[in-house]
């Protein structure tokens, strides 16, 4: 029951993160920027609009928003945020989360191709390209954490995990992954719609109205998901709502600083970026073996 409430709260809160990050970025740029509640206004706007759907598009295009939302939400549901005895850990473990995200990505990619536009295909191609590097790195990072906790059950991870050098390294690689997955600079840029640079947005290009809203919403969910994973890993000793929120805030600050301080990379530099993350986790594993 507590889980349900917590989950609903999270659902309601997750757009806020996006707002906060934008706000921080603007403030760091010495601008006023939109209020932190801007994402909510956007979502409401999208949801209250009608849709325009391409005549080339098939049912896959229409079904995708639901599937993406469902997969992301389920993944989020598996993760124990505040309440440490998540009954749903019976449904799946840490790896299952990754696979679930894969489901959403698969359909989003298809939806990119579906309406027979050039940009969509471009987005798809880049998305699957990045994904095929992100996934192994993620698995490696998770392996580090799971190894040092001795299990992949998320509840037990939260309870068993304790800080050591390898988990810290893993956490850093997780942050890099999170940047990639939430399509932020230097991998991707949420704010632009310039076809040369956009990846995630390119796939959403044909969406409008309620579906777009749904997709935006699931993007926020995904963001929250990754942030909370990192939050679990970082200083697991300090858990509970307050600490959680603090950690999330800290992460948002970090991310916005990163976004400001770096510029977007060429697509093929992404490989180096991610492989660096991979190397980090491999080093973490070695550290584990050496028992540092």
């Amino acid at each position: 029951m507590g889980k349900i409430i917590e989950f609903i709260v999270l659902l309601l809160l997750c757009p806020l993160i996006g707002g906060i990050i934008t706000k921080i970025k603007n403030n760091l740029r010495f601008r006023r920027g939109p209020s932190i509640f801007q994402p909510y206004f956007n979502l409401i706007k999208y949801f209250s609009k009608d849709e325009v759907i391409s005549d080339k598009a098939s049912w896959i295009f229409k079904a995708t928003p639901y599937i993406v939302f469902a997969s992301t939400a389920t993944a989020l549901l598996l993760i124990p945020i505040v309440s440490l005895d998540n009954p749903l850990s019976l449904a799946g473990d840490f790896f299952a989360v990754i696979f679930l995200l894969g489901l959403g990505r698969f359909f989003l990619a298809l939806a990119g191709i579906d309406p027979a536009t050039t940009f969509g295909g471009m987005g798809t191609s880049r998305e699957i390209f990045i994904a095929s590097f992100v996934e192994p790195v993620t698995i490696l990072a998770i392996l580090v954490i799971a190894l040092s906790a001795g299990t992949t059950n998320l509840n037990s991870i939260v309870s068993l995990l304790h800080m050591n050098p390898s988990t810290i390294m893993a956490m850093f690689s997780l942050i890099m992954i999170a940047i990639a997955e939430t399509s932020r600079i230097p991998i991707d840029n949420q704010e632009t719609h310039l076809e040369l640079t956009m990846i995630h947005e390119a796939m959403l290009l044909e969406y409008s109205g309620k579906s777009l809203g749904l997709l935006e919403f699931s993007t926020y969910l995904k963001q929250l998901l990754f942030f909370s994973i990192i939050a679990i890993v970082f200083l697991p000793a300090f858990s509970g709502p307050v600490f959680f929120l603090l950690k999330i805030l800290g992460l948002s600050v970090l991310v916005s600083i990163v976004e400001l301080s770096l510029s977007k990379m060429r697509l093929f530099r992404v490989v180096d970026f991610l492989s660096f993350a991979g190397i980090l986790s491999v080093m973490a594993i070695i550290a584990l073996i050496l028992g540092v």
Partner: protein, 558 residues
């Protein structure tokens, strides 16, 4: 007729309890499948494919024969049990040799890289239902052989066996899926993905062998079980996919992705079955591919947790390779499905395709439901497979606890998976999303043309092509794929180019730098040998003199 014989021979392979009969059944299987490959004898390509296939498989068989004869030499019998009994007293040196022979012998049939060379030729050439059986079942007989002869009869005697198998398996996974991504012929894509899946299965088997040596019987059983489970799954969804490809080919008359597209409206049933197949093969929850790969991943994790030192890292890297394979496979099937069925038709052939008849769809429907059931009810299948792998490894510890729908790999660990619950959650959230939409009033949709940036005539030529989609990966892996492009321009004047054609291909490293070179050397050598038969009778007589003289000089030697 041939088909029945084919199935029979495969059954024989699996049931024989005598090496000699096994060998004969094996050869029979190869022979029949050869005839199935060259089924359409008019076609030059299929003959070539058949030749490559039969030669490679005979090479494998030669290795097997040698291995069997070595076993026979030691045990003096062809019966499985007697051999098994006597092999325990064999020297480790011989064991290793026999293991290598068996591994590469069966590996040729299974299509491990770099012995996979025949597979992408042979499978696409056969009629689709045949290729589905070939990919689904025939190459699995090789896996059967490995389990039967290496694990059961020979017995895992040193650690590096497992490591060797895992290394080859990892290479096989990555190479297979990369080539699958680069191909544009739909059946070739499927064939290469068979290579990849064999790799995944071998990962399981190899790790199980490692665990046996490392004294982790539970994990050994578990990973064996995962391998078997993936074997079954692959049989099902690869069969499904090949059938789908077959009906696409039948409807459009082409297998080239670049000529397909937009079939989702023309042949909805085939499309949805193919979609299920592709989801399963790219390990998406809650379908069966997901369950088996998850299980394998978990096993690897547990292994990594239990082992220490270099092996820990080794296993972790294997897990990374596995997940990378999964991601690439997903990419591959996004491409395959998306380009084939979605967007606009890219050619008149695809333009006027018809849905295939009921029976074909029915066949696919059966397999599709199987895919779903194997996913949701995977728990029960695993229950059975666990028994099987226990008998294989002769261990009786129960590596898995199952309360009705929840799978719990190792009793010690509290790791759970329940595809069913996941499915339920997914559906409920989809419903939730729908409600969320309805919350803000009734859904009204307008259909309009795709946004064309004001460019008023958007044709199928503006779509992303299959080649285009896989381009970033082609560039990222160019160190291995060695892509090259063919550009030809037809100019009217120096400045005005009338038509411009651009193809890009990848170099098949193993074919170019392994087989071509080897064959080239062999033929060059043979051509030089023609100098022996130079045509001059005097020299011929000279040979005779020489022989006599040499023999008489060295008579003492004999």
């Amino acid at each position: 007729m041939l088909f029945i014989l084919f199935v029979l021979s495969m059954l024989m392979v699996v049931v024989e309890a005598n090496v000699f009969h096994f060998l004969i059944a094996w050869e029979l299987m190869s022979l029949v499948s050869y005839f199935l490959v060259i089924f359409d004898t008019e076609n030059k390509k299929s003959i070539e494919a058949g030749t490559i296939y039969i030669v490679m498989t005979h090479f494998g068989t030669a290795l097997l024969i040698i291995a069997f004869l070595l076993m026979y030499r030691h045990s003096g019998s062809f019966d499985f049990n007697t051999i098994q009994a006597s092999l325990s007293s064999m020297s480790s040196m011989q064991r290793n040799i026999i293991f290598l022979l068996l591994f590469f012998g069966f590996g040729t049939k299974a299509g491990i890289v770099p012995l996979h060379i025949w597979l992408p030729y042979a499978h696409p050439q056969a009629p689709s239902h045949i290729s589905s059986v070939m990919s689904g079942v025939m190459i699995k007989t090789a896996i059967y052989g490995m389990i039967r002869f290496i694990i059961i009869m020979l017995g895992v005697s040193s650690l590096w066996w497992g490591e060797l198998i895992m290394v080859f398996a990892a290479i096989t996974c990555l190479v297979g899926v990369l080539y699958a991504l680069m191909e544009n012929d739909i059946k070739t894509v499927l064939a290469y993905s068979s290579v990849e899946n064999i790799g995944i299965i071998l990962l399981g088997i190899g790790s199980s062998m490692i665990f046996i040596k490392a004294g982790l019987p539970i994990l050994a059983t578990l990973s064996m079980c995962a391998a078997l489970y993936h074997l079954v799954n692959h049989a099902v969804f690869k069969g499904l996919l090949f059938l789908g490809a077959g009906s696409v080919y039948r409807a459009t008359g082409t297998r080239n992705l670049e000529k397909l597209g937009g079939l989702i409206n023309k042949m909805p049933w085939t499309c949805s079955f193919f979609l299920i197949g592709s989801m399963a093969i790219s390990a998406l929850p809650p379908l069966n591919g997901f369950v088996s790969e998850w299980l394998l991943l978990i096993v690897l994790f547990l292994g990594a947790a239990a082992l220490t030192g270099g092996l820990k890292l080794f296993i972790c890297l294997a897990a990374a390779v596995l997940s990378m394979t999964g991601a690439l496979a997903a990419a591959c099937f996004v491409k395959a499905f998306g380009i084939t069925f979605l967007a606009r038709p890219r050619s008149p052939k695809a333009e006027n395709a018809k849905e295939s008849n009921f029976l074909m769809n029915f066949g696919m429907a059966i397999l599709a439901t199987l895919v779903v059931l194997l996913g949701l009810g995977g728990v029960y299948i695993i229950e059975v497979l666990v028994r099987v792998s226990q008998t294989i490894l002769g261990s009786d510890i129960d590596p898995i606890s199952i309360n009705n729908i929840i799978l719990r790999p190792q009793p010690a660990q509290n790791i759970y998976l329940s595809p069913l619950i996941l499915a339920v959650l997914l559906f409920s959230f989809a419903a939730l999303a729908y409600l969320l939409k309805r919350l803000f009033g009734k859904e009204k949709t307008v259909t309009a043309g795709t946004w064309d940036c004001g460019y008023y005539k958007l044709t199928s030529r503006n779509e992303y092509t299959g080649t285009g989609i896989s381009k970033p990966l082609r560039i990222a892996f160019s160190f291995f794929l060695l892509p090259f492009r063919k550009i030809e321009k037809i100019r009217e004047t120096r400045y005005f180019i009338k038509s411009f054609s651009y193809e890009t291909h990848t170099t098949k490293v193993f074919r170019e730098y392994l087989y071509k070179v080897f064959l080239g050397q062999m033929f060059r050598f043979a051509r030089n040998m023609r100098g022996i038969q130079i045509g001059s009778i005097h020299i011929y007589l000279g040979y005779i003199c020489l022989t006599i003289i040499l023999l008489i000089v060295f008579v003492g030697r004999f």
